[in-house]
Structure formats: C-alpha cells, structure tokens
C-alpha cells in the first residue's frame, strides 16, 4: 500500500477540514414520480420531492414505505418509471455529481478499509487520493484499522467505513440511506457533526429513522407514510445545523414528526 510516512498525521491535522471537492455551488434536484410499482403493488404514487440546493433534506417514514426506493430511483438503480422526471436547478444531468450510501454497508470483502475508500478513484482510473482517504479514516476514528479487512470489523465500524467512502467522493449531491443507524449515541453525535461540516454547500438527501437526527441535521424534513406513500408537508426547523435537538424549541417539531409517523404507520403495516 502506502509507504510508512511519519509526517502523515501531522500533515493531515494541518489541512483544512474540507478538502478540494467539486467546486459547484449547491444544485437543486426535483423528483416528480408518477408511480412506482413492485410486483403489482403500488409503493409510491404521484410524489414530488424537491431537494433544495446546498441543503440537507431528511426523509423519515415507517419501515418498508419506500424511502430507499426513492433514493435508488435518484441514483439511477431503479429505472425511472414512465411519466416521471428528475430535473436539476442548473438544467444539467445528475450524472457524475452523485454519491450514494446504501442501507447495507457494501464494503469490498477482500479490500482493506483504506482500499475500500480508494475504490472510487481506482474505478475512475484516477491517481488515488491517499491523503484524503487517510484523513477521512482518521475522522471516522478508524486509523487503527486502516489495513484491516471488513470481516474483522464490527457492524458500526463497517458503517463508518461506508460513510467515509461516500464522503471521499466529494460529490455535490449526496444520497445517504440511514448512515448512522449502527452507531452508538456518542459516535453518532460526533459523526453527525463531521457530516454537517463536510456537507455544507452540498445537496443532501438523508434517510433516517431517528427524529433527533433529522432535527439535528435536517434543513428540511419530510415524513413519507401511507400506502401508496405520500410526502408530508415540509418541516423546516429554525437555526443552522448542526442543532441541539434537546433544545426545547424543537419539541413541537419532534411531536409533529412522531404524529405523522404514527398516524400513518397503522395503515402501512
């Protein structure tokens, strides 16, 4: 791999937190979905989701309602159903400006943590950005496991690798499917902070089951519920992220989220 470089950690420390990413300002994305049908069952119908440029949009909803499916449609993994459209604020295609973090960690089983971070560079035939990779590994707290294979990591550690890999890309638009679900409260808190810092100016769609997480990170929060599922009205908490969700100011948002989740869950499952 990399030769032992004694100055590496200092070098990393002295670097700015946000490394050179794609220089674009935030891009707005608008998904207008006619209907999504799986095996004859209509999961989503008549749905319009707007991702505001440079903002973090959080998506909550009962299990199996179709959150991940929306992400996969945006990422192009599920072909865009007929009569549906994805448009961007700058009119250009999404292609090449997206990063995606799956609900499963999807780490390459034969590659070390380090090499898992470099896979994007390698696939694109670029010179691997080892410094950035090492910095991100350090930021998610895994420098001791830099050369470990994923099968020797704990579930939460694997999730952190997947998170680091997604941040590694530096894309302008990020789709993240429950990125912190396997982490303990403290680690989660630290990584939410890290994400908030690294994701300024990025357009992010983040799926979560944790209303606290949505309140901490979300500029805009939607709840998806019902069958077929519909989006709630947007909840837009005041203040800049990352917020302190324990703040009393947010308790009414919290209960709004819970009501919407609860009100519809009964139908969905």
């Amino acid at each position: 791999m990399e030769p032992d470089n004694p100055t590496y950690s200092d070098a990393a420390e002295s670097m700015p937190d946000v490394l050179h990413d794609q220089g674009e300002a935030g891009i707005g994305v608008d998904l207008s979905l006619d209907e999504l049908v799986f095996d004859g069952d209509t999961i989503l119908s008549d749905l319009n989701l707007e991702l505001e440029p440079g903002k973090i949009t959080c998506l909550l909803g009962p299990s199996g309602v179709g959150k991940s499916s929306i992400l996969k449609i945006l990422a192009g993994f599920i072909p865009l159903p007929g009569n549906s459209r994805v448009t961007t604020s700058d009119g250009k295609s999404l292609e090449g400006r997206l990063s995606y973090m799956d609900q499963k960690d999807l780490l390459l089983p034969w590659a070390s943590v380090f090499d898992n971070l470099l896979i994007g560079n390698r696939l694109r035939g670029e010179i691997p950005d080892r410094v950035r990779a090492d910095r991100l590994i350090k930021q998610v707290g895994l420098e001791k496991w830099r050369d470990s294979r994923p099968d020797t990591l704990s579930g939460g550690m694997r999730q952190r690798v997947a998170l680091a890999r997604t941040l590694m890309e530096g894309s302008s638009i990020l789709l993240m499917d429950e990125p912190f679900s396997a982490l303990d409260a403290i680690t989660k808190f630290r990584l939410q902070g890290l994400a908030a810092r690294l994701l300024t100016e990025k357009t992010v769609l983040l799926i979560t089951h944790d209303p606290m997480e949505a309140l901490r990170l979300g500029d805009v929060i939607y709840v998806l519920a019902g069958h077929p599922a519909r989006l709630s009205e947007a909840i837009r908490p005041e203040k800049d992220i990352p917020r302190d969700p324990a703040d009393d100011a947010f308790s009414q948002h919290y209960s709004a989220i819970m009501t919407r989740l609860a009100g519809e869950t009964e139908d969905a499952s």
């Binding site: 192009g76 390698r122 696939l123 670029e126």
Partner: protein, 260 residues
Amino acid sequence: MRLLRAGITLAGFLLIWGLITAILGLPKFLLPSPLIVAEALLTHASLIADNAMTTAIEILVGLILGVLFGMVSALLISAYRPVKQWVFPLLIASQAIPVFAIAPLLVLWLGYGMAPKIVMSLLIIYFPVTVGFLDGLNRTEPVWLNLAGLLQQSGRTGRFRKLVNLYLYIKIPFALPSLASGIRVAAAIAPIGAVVGEWVGASSGLGYLMLHANARVQTDLMFASLLVLTAMALLIYYLIDALLLRALPWLSTHNNNTTQ
C-alpha cells in the same frame, strides 16, 4: 502431515491393487502387480523420467496457456454480449470433438512439434476455466454493479478504461472463487490433456510411452508410466490447490472457527 496422509493413501492403494492382482489372480498383461510395476519403474527409470519431463512441460504450458486463454475468453464473453452469442456456442461445440477427428488437421497446420499437443490440451483444459470464471463474472451482484457504475459516472476516462477498471476492481475479485473452482478442475484434467495431445503424434512423452508399451504388450511399462502420470496429476492438483488457497485468503475464513 498432509504428505504423511498422502503416503498412507498411496500405501493403501498399492495394497488393494496388490490384493486384487493376487486374489483375482489377474495375469500380468491385464493388471500387473505393484511389485512388477515397481520393477519396471526401476528398470526403465531413465526412460520414464525423460518422457515424464516432456509431459510435465506440456502439462505446465497447457495449464498456463489454458488458464490464461480461459480467463481471457471468459472476460471477452462476459464483457461483450456479441462474443457470447456468436462465439460461445463454438467453444461448447469444440468440447465434443474427439481428438482423432481433427488430428490430421492439427498436424497439417501445426506439424509434429509441441504446438498440436498444446492446442489439444488447451482445448481440454481451458473449458472448465472459461465456464467457471464466466459463471463467476456473470454472478456479480447487481448492487455492486450499480454502485460501481455510479462511482464511475464522474470519471473523465474513456468507456473502455472504465470497463477495464470495473472488471479489475469489482467483477474479477468477486469471480475469483469460481475461477479457482474452474482451475481446480483444469488442474485435475491437465495430465489427460497432455496425453491426448500426444496422441496427435509424438516422439516422446508419457502418453507416447504408454501407447508404445501398450502396442508392445509391455503392460508393466505401461502401468509404470501410468503411475508416474497419476503421481504428477496429484502433485499438480495439490500444488495448485495450495496456491489458490494462498491467493484467496478472504475465502479461507471457514477454516478457522471465528466468525464473519
């Protein structure tokens, strides 16, 4: 330990063989006793060794080329649908061709040197490699392809370079276990590949020696050569098996008892 066990297997095998010849009273020209074969092995030691050398080289060249060709074929077939649709049937058809049917053609085009032997053993060896690897390549899970496709979208390199990288970093690693399985089969049949190659026409090699001994009713020499061939087969198989296990460490997890 492994060697010890191999030794014991060998001894047991020789014992059974000896018993069969002794109890059934099989005549020497049908199945010579191990003792007679051992004697022939000693008497003709240098003859056998010389010919074994030729066959060993053929096996090695056949295996290396077979594995290479097989891998290249599988890659081409998996990467280019047309190749699969048009060329793959020919490959399958080639498996059904008996050596004597095309021996004259091979001789016509390639002469009596190493070339026709290598082509014959190639035909035999490379097929399991191709099918094994191809199956592995085709079985890459779609999530990985999706993810890799997304990661590649922002790349500035050409389509071809991206395809190469996709194979290099995703498809091939995932297909390695299947490739290993194919190589294992290939390793086991490589010796017969070389022998069949020698049938096309040869002036040395264990297959040649066996044909020769068979024609001269020297059953002891034939079985001595067969024994050496078999020993080579086993050696090659276990050598390759060991190599494969080393090359794919993340697959041998099932050997120790710790978990995922």
